[in-house]
């Protein structure tokens, strides 16, 4: 890739524009929505499971990394417990507190195609390759095989429980079976028509089935039909031809008046249960809206209270709000496309100019290029030395990387999977690069949720179970366990963010319950806890000069907390009192990094996926009447006018699809971009469609 150096129009920065991080998000395979906790679980093709908080701007709260050869086919919530099943034949329960797999048991029915829990939370049903529907009883801390329903000849592709829990509809090859759960016998067998013409010889796969409480069974099949069946008579009521390709996913709303179907053309079709004549009760399912937000197959859809969520092969999670269900329009009710994880995948060794890229199965270490001369703002500079890939570190074992870090001096590299944690030392003599693995690690460093080095690279912070942080000192001679930092009280949710102060006195941790704890490293005790805010922390940093903790939240609010005084700073209180600008609050991607400019202590640098922002704490805050994106206007003004027009937020939108921004000690910025077009070109080809005027 390329590394261009250019000076940003705003401020005085030399920018390394990095485009050689070939991050590929994995396609979405399954979605499961939990109405009570408002959490959306997403299973990806690489076996990872993510949990999004729907009412907190779809922040990605939890990530459970996948494994090699661990494909997930179905996801299901039972109460607050999350289960998945896959083609390896096992059912997996997840430990959401510690963000890892709790256990996997084999169902002994061959590959599992689908999993469904009943509404009562007592049983799980899985559909297997061998044609059996297996019922599992959900116990306090495990699940237990109960029995098989009548075995069928062909594989079970889809399952749906009747809300009463007494019947199950199963979609198979060419047919749909309705089972009585009590007896385990089949009640009805409904045949799905095959396509016409050449597709007549291909069997019709019932990809998805939904069982409504009024006894209607709705199926989506590979012929492109959404069919409605009556379970009393076992007859077809109505069929809608949605597409020429497959209907892959169906989802019904909680009150059963709306249904969404996702197709392999990448469209989502909504059906609504409306009365044909106003004021009368004879309702019918009518096809209404069509949403086109995907380019590839939609493998999973879910209708949540106010939106339709869909995901597929193009690896983006699309949240399409249903405007008729929303009371008032706000930033929370905008169309949202989630492309990148809400975690940092790039670590930067600031002092040595190294970048560590985290891929699911390996790590890459790059050295930044160098440029010479000074150009006019906005121009690209001549690259004297090209960026160089120093290291390609493959993960041992099948687990994918959960977190990784590189020390600021560039000497240490650490990563952790669900089962192991490895620390490497990097030797760099001229062009000879070698690494050595540090063998004798303290026992506490068996696995970590988040890793962080202290600014002088002498200590490693490792967040582990029960919201605790282990402190390990590292040196040439080896590494030594120093102590464990534990919060005084609070939840045991896993920590997803760590921030260490520049002077080595403080470390702050944030967990998925929105708690932020600050520890004193000298006393190795909990110093204080920041008041809990309703939205998750997406990024935080400790100011090198003032030792104030700057926090960004998923709802785009920002707080500055003085560690020494254990209270919010005056500036933070002013921000809260005056409120943030509407355009700032309406942005739909969270801020992922907080940096401070050592040359100008009042500057805080933030970035999200679409922009880079410098907050000048010395300037007045904008109100809703002022022009928010005022960089171009300011350029045209004279020096005096500029002063009166400028406000605290200086937004730069030169860069797009930003994965990471880091400020180097030599006042240069590293911007890691991953253009979505590049991702699109690497995706498999979508279904060919005839388009008008092509």
């Amino acid at each position: 890739m390329m590394s261009t150096d250019l000076r940003s129009a705003m401020g005085e920065f030399k920018v390394h524009r990095v485009r050689f991080f070939d991050y590929m998000p994995s396609g979405i395979r399954a979605l499961a929505f939990n109405q009570d906790t408002e959490r959306m679980a997403v299973a990806r093709m690489d076996g990872s499971v993510e949990v999004f908080h729907c009412s907190d701007r779809f922040f990605q709260e939890k990530i459970i990394p996948g494994r090699e050869q661990f494909g997930i086919e179905g996801l299901s919530w039972v109460g607050e417990r999350l289960f998945s099943a896959g083609l390896n034949g096992g059912i997996t329960e997840y430990d959401l507190t510690n963000q890892k797999v709790k256990y996997t048991i084999d169902a002994y029915g061959g590959p599992i195609w689908t999993i469904a829990g009943n509404q009562q939370g007592t049983h799980l049903a899985v559909g297997c390759e061998d044609g059996t529907v297996k019922l599992f009883e959900v116990n306090e801390d495990n699940i237990q095989f109960e029995r098989n329903l009548d075995r069928q000849k062909s594989r079970i592709v889809s399952l749906s429980w009747h809300p009463s829990g007494s019947k199950i509809a199963a979609g198979m090859m060419d047919m749909i079976q309705v089972f009585n759960v009590e007896t385990g016998h089949s009640m009805h067998r409904m045949l799905a028509d095959r396509g016409v013409g050449t597709s007549r010889s291909k069997e019709c796969v019932v990809w998805s089935v939904v069982y409504l409480s009024d006894g209607t069974i709705i199926t989506g099949d590979s012929v492109g039909m959404v069919k409605l069946w009556d379970d009393q008579t076992g007859t077809l009521i109505k069929s809608h031809n949605v597409t020429k390709c497959d209907v892959l996913a169906l989802s019904v709303s909680q009150n059963e008046d709306s249904l969404v179907a996702g197709t392999s053309e990448g469209i989502v079709v909504q059906f609504q249960f409306v009365s044909m004549v106003l004021g009368k009760d004879d309702k019918e399912w009518v096809r209404t809206r069509t949403f086109r937000n995907h380019t590839h197959d939609i493998r999973a859809v879910a209708e949540i209270t106010t939106a339709v969520v869909s995901g597929g092969m193009d690896a983006q999670l699309v949240v399409r709000p249903l405007l008729d269900k929303i009371e008032e329009r706000s930033a929370a009710s905008a169309l949202r496309k989630i492309h990148f994880p809400h975690r940092r995948l790039v670590a930067c060794a600031r002092k040595s100019g190294l970048m560590l890229f985290q891929y699911p199965g390996h790590l890459e270490l790059w050295r930044l290029g160098e440029s010479e001369g000074k150009g006019i703002p906005g121009s690209s500079l001549f690259v004297k030395r090209n960026p160089e890939k120093l290291l390609h570190l493959k993960v041992k074992g099948e687990d994918h990387i959960r977190c990784s870090a590189v020390s600021p001096c560039g000497e240490w590299i650490v990563y952790s999977t669900a089962s192991t944690l490895r620390l490497y030392r990097l030797h760099c003599d001229n062009n000879n690069i070698s690494i050595t693995k540090i063998s004798k690690l303290p026992k506490v460093l068996s696995s970590a949720n988040q890793l962080c080095f202290s600014s002088d690279s002498s200590h490693l912070f490792s967040a582990s179970a029960q919201s605790s942080v282990h402190l390990v000192s590292i040196s040439q001679s080896g590494c030594k366990f120093v102590g464990t930092l534990k919060p005084k009280s609070g939840s045991h949710q896993a920590i997803h963010l760590l921030a260490a102060s520049e002077d080595g006195k403080w470390v702050a941790s944030a967990n998925s319950d929105h708690e932020v704890h600050i520890y004193n490293l000298q006393t190795r005790k909990a110093h204080c806890t920041v008041p809990i805010y309703s939205s998750a922390v997406t990024a935080m940093g400790i100011h090198p000069a003032t030792n104030c903790l700057f926090m960004m939240h998923a709802d785009q609010q920002m707080f500055e907390y003085s560690i020494e005084q254990k209270q919010y700073t005056d500036w933070s209180r002013t921000v809260q009192r005056k409120g943030l600008h509407r355009l700032w609050v309406e942005r739909d991607t969270p801020c992922l990094n907080v940096m401070f400019n050592p040359q100008n202590p009042s500057h805080v640098i933030l970035h999200d996926m679409y922009m880079l922002c410098i907050i000048d704490q010395s300037l007045p805050l904008p109100d809703d009447k002022t022009q928010f994106y005022n960089q171009l206007t300011l350029k045209s003004l004279t020096e005096e006018q500029r002063k009166s027009h400028s406000h605290a937020f200086k937004v730069c939108k030169t860069f797009k699809d930003i994965l990471c921004v880091e400020l180097m000690p030599d006042q240069s910025l590293v911007v890691v971009e991953r253009p979505l077009e590049d991702i699109a070109t690497q995706l498999p080809a979508p279904i060919k469609q005839k388009k008008f005027a092509t």
Partner: protein
């Protein structure tokens, strides 16, 4: 000087020949036999089967703006007009039943331009003219386009909820508006049974709205096929299909409730403006922008085309008369010349000049016929087609068409690709009978004469190229005997001899560029007339080569009559057009009409009459041999008509009996006519006309004998009729003065109660019984009876009136 006398005669200026038939959606009668459409100030009635124009409902004095079937009586139709009246017609007989002023019925859409939609309750009254005062404004800010209003289910229940009106604020689509998406509403339709509204949008999408009475929970589905705005939408009466049309001129039939399943009927002609469906759903009809109505069966087969005078955005060619068919020829469909019979007000045929597929899409630069000319016999037609009027790279072809006697149509003879280096301004054929010659003048400063080749291939080739001091020619004209050719170059007129191609003389009358040129005819052929841009009308004497007279008048069009010496001049002054008719020999107008219309007139033509009128009136003599038609800028074709003509038109329209033109079967001839005769017999039953019934009887016998046996009704039916026809009626046997008196009274009563058919029947029955009695009664008793009967009748009439 030209003296102007103003005559007190005000001629009727008649809008004629193809008013727009596509202004409002046509309606199909309940029995699918008739098609009604608003056309100018008439409502025209067509037969759906034969596409023939049957008759028209005359009575409105201004543009008819809406028609609707009377929901209570399917044989009646309401019409409303800009003149502020709503009229109720019996459209089969063409009788005006009721007229209401400033009023509306709920089922009639009555709109003045930019006025709110109002609903008016039509008061029930037996009077012929009523004034409706009850009027309620349903909604304001509604577009006057009829496709923007639709009635939903249950309008007759007077529930205002179901009158779904076109209002951008009704659904308040703010979210989509702000993105600059072109989703403004263009049309609306309501489902006949379900509560579903279909709307068409500017970007070609169709949305089906449901649950719309809820403020937030309304929902819609989108269907998209049209690539431009959807012009019109219509549900079939059963509600199973939705029809849509737009500029693509493709009728699209969407299956209601089945997503994207649709059928197409492409290549219908101009863009579709309205669609209407018969009440049984068997017939659709679409009106098109090229003034056409297409009748389509529900199996998506075109079964009839009603073509009016095609009026595009403008007429580029002159108005011409085809010397053979006497049809009016002008631009028609894009790339075509249309032949229109003014006499029958009927479109005859289109001649494809460009011979390329026309693409119905806005903003495309396509070939258009810009000039056309006929030679005097009508055996040659010259056309010029042009592309790139707007852009700099002009492309044009000169084509010559020969009339083929065998096929009775024009056949392309020669195509000349580069006739001139620049645009052709004008062309004319020589008027001599022996040799045909075409002269074209172009902006490149040259005029060219084209002749047929001498060899047997007889293609056209250039014969002579002439120019005059490199000036730009402006017009050309041949003298009546083709011995002279006049070509005007800016301010100079040059006279050429076509035989030797030498320039004979030049005429000049500065200032002002010559605009129009024409030679006098017949006795005035020594005169040459010209108009200049500096408002001068000049007349030169070609024998003396001197200016005979000139007059300062702004003439926009000079039109000579080919059959007389007369020349008509259209002058546009102070925002209205005046017409002068004069002979070149004398600078005195024969006829003047001030303020003919308020627009400029650029196209006019004299149409020879089939048979000359014998009008002795001096001021109307000029209309005896030919008629003057002219086209205003609003594309109205106007003409002058004399009083006698109007009388003739009126009388002929009265003679038209509708039943004659519809489904004339032998059955009908036998039974229908006979029934009429019987009715006449009974109602009129004139005792004075004491004629034996033989002739009528013999008619019946004749019909009986001349009708094929397989179409005859049963013998039992015929028998009684036959016998009846032979019988001599017993009425009026007695010659009684009293009876005469009585009958005359009876006649009065009859005429009073003409309107109520049932009443007269009732009366008949009474009359019949009375007649039987009279034979036995004395005169005194008869008088008594008469009195009794008189009172009886009024009472009876009251009873019958109150009954319905």
């Amino acid at each position: 000087m030209l003296y102007i006398y103003i005559y007190i005669y005000i001629y009727n200026i008649v809008r004629c020949g193809g008013s727009k038939v596509n202004l409002r959606p046509p309606i199909i009668s309940t029995d699918s036999r008739f098609l009604l459409c608003a056309s100018g100030d008439l409502v025209k009635v067509y037969s759906t089967r034969t596409e023939e124009w049957l008759h028209s409902l005359q009575g409105h004095t201004n543009q008819v703006t809406g028609i609707a079937l009377n929901p209570a009586n399917h044989l009646q139709v309401y019409s409303c007009s800009v003149d502020g009246t709503v009229k109720l017609w019996d459209f089969i007989d063409g009788i005006l039943i009721k007229a209401a002023y400033e009023c509306n019925c709920l089922s009639v859409i009555y709109q003045k331009i930019n006025s709110p939609l109002v609903a008016v309750h039509l008061p029930k009254s037996a009077e012929q003219e009523v004034e409706a005062k009850e009027m309620s404004v349903v909604s304001s800010h509604i577009s006057s386009n009829p496709s923007c209003t639709a009635f939903g289910r249950g309008v007759r229940a007077h529930s205002p909820l179901h009158i779904m009106t076109f209002e951008p604020c009704f659904f308040s689509l703010k979210a989509t508006d702000k993105k600059g998406a072109k989703n403004a509403f263009t049309c609306i339709a309501c489902h006949p049974t379900d509560d579903c509204i279909a709307t068409g949008h500017e970007d070609g999408k169709i949305r089906l709205w449901r649950n719309f009475i809820h403020k937030k929970e309304y929902t819609y589905s989108t269907q998209h096929w049209h690539h431009n705005a959807v012009n019109t939408l219509c549900f079939t009466p059963e509600g199973t299909h939705l029809l849509s049309g737009g500029i693509e001129s493709v009728l699209v039939q969407w299956q209601y409730g089945a997503g994207n399943r649709k059928e197409f009927l492409p290549r219908l002609g101009g863009s579709i403006l309205h669609i209407s469906v018969s009440s049984d759903g068997q017939l659709f009809c679409t009106s098109h922008s090229d003034n056409k109505i297409t009748v389509i069966e529900s199996s998506f087969k075109v079964c009839g085309v009603i073509q009016g005078l095609v009026k595009g955005d403008g007429v580029l060619t002159d108005l011409m008369i085809d010397p053979r068919s006497k049809a009016l020829v002008l631009n028609g469909k894009p790339g075509h010349l249309q032949f229109y019979s003014l006499l029958r007000d009927k479109h005859l045929y289109n001649l494809d000049i460009v011979q390329q597929e026309y693409i119905y899409e806005a903003g495309l630069d396509q070939f258009e016929v810009v000039k056309a000319a006929f030679d005097i016999k009508g055996s040659w037609l010259a056309t010029v087609e042009e592309r790139g009027q707007k852009s700099s790279d002009l492309e044009f072809f000169l084509k010559l068409w020969a009339f083929d006697e065998r096929t009775q149509s024009f056949v392309l003879n020669t195509t000349i690709t580069a006739a001139h280096t620049d645009r052709i301004i004008s062309m004319c054929f020589s008027s001599s009978k022996e040799t045909t010659m075409l002269v074209t003048i172009a902006e490149d400063g040259q005029f060219k004469a084209w002749c047929q080749g001498a060899d047997d291939q007889n293609f056209w080739s250039c014969d002579f190229v002439g120019s005059y001091h490199n000036l730009k020619p402006t017009n050309c004209s041949f003298s009546a005997d083709s011995s002279l050719l006049a070509v005007s170059f800016q301010e100079v007129i040059t006279i050429w001899s076509p035989e030797t191609w030498e320039m004979l003389t030049t005429l000049c009358q500065p200032p002002g560029v010559i605009r129009d040129l024409c030679f006098g005819r017949l006795s005035c052929s020594k005169y040459l007339l010209g108009t200049t841009t500096r408002n001068l009308l000049c007349c030169w004497n070609l024998l003396t080569c001197a200016l005979e007279w000139s007059s300062s008048v702004e003439v926009s069009k000079l039109q000579p009559d080919p059959l007389s010496e007369n020349v008509a001049a259209f002058s546009y002054q102070s925002k209205h057009t005046d017409v002068f008719v004069f002979k070149p020999s004398e600078p005195r107008p024969l006829f003047t009409n001030k303020n003919v219309c308020s627009e400029k007139v650029h196209r006019a033509v004299f149409v020879p009459r089939e048979e000359p009128l014998n009008n002795c009136d001096e001021s109307s003599q000029w209309l005896n041999r030919s008629q003057l038609y002219f086209l205003t800028q609003n594309m109205d074709l106007l003409t002058f008509s004399t009083a006698t003509e109007e009388d003739r038109i009126l009388s002929s329209s009265k003679q038209l009996v509708i039943d004659d033109s519809v489904a004339v079967t032998p059955f009908y001839l036998l039974l229908g006519k006979h029934g009429q005769q019987q009715q006449k017999l009974n109602t009129q039953s004139h005792p004075a006309a004491d004629k034996p019934q033989q002739p009528q009887g013999s008619v019946t016998i004749k019909e009986l004998l001349h009708t094929p046996a397989h179409v005859l009704p049963a013998a039992s039916v015929l028998c009684s009729m036959f016998v009846n026809s032979l019988l001599i009626s017993n009425t009026g046997v007695q010659q009684d003065p009293l009876r005469e008196e009585m009958d005359s009274e009876k006649e009065e009563e009859d005429s009073e109660e003409e309107m109520e058919a049932c009443d007269s029947q009732q009366e008949l029955r009474v009359q019949g019984s009375v007649d039987e009695v009279t034979l036995k009664l004395s005169k005194a008793q008869e008088r008594e009876l008469k009195r009794v009967r008189k009172t009886d009748f009024s009472w009876m009439a009251g009873l019958i009136d109150s009954k319905p």
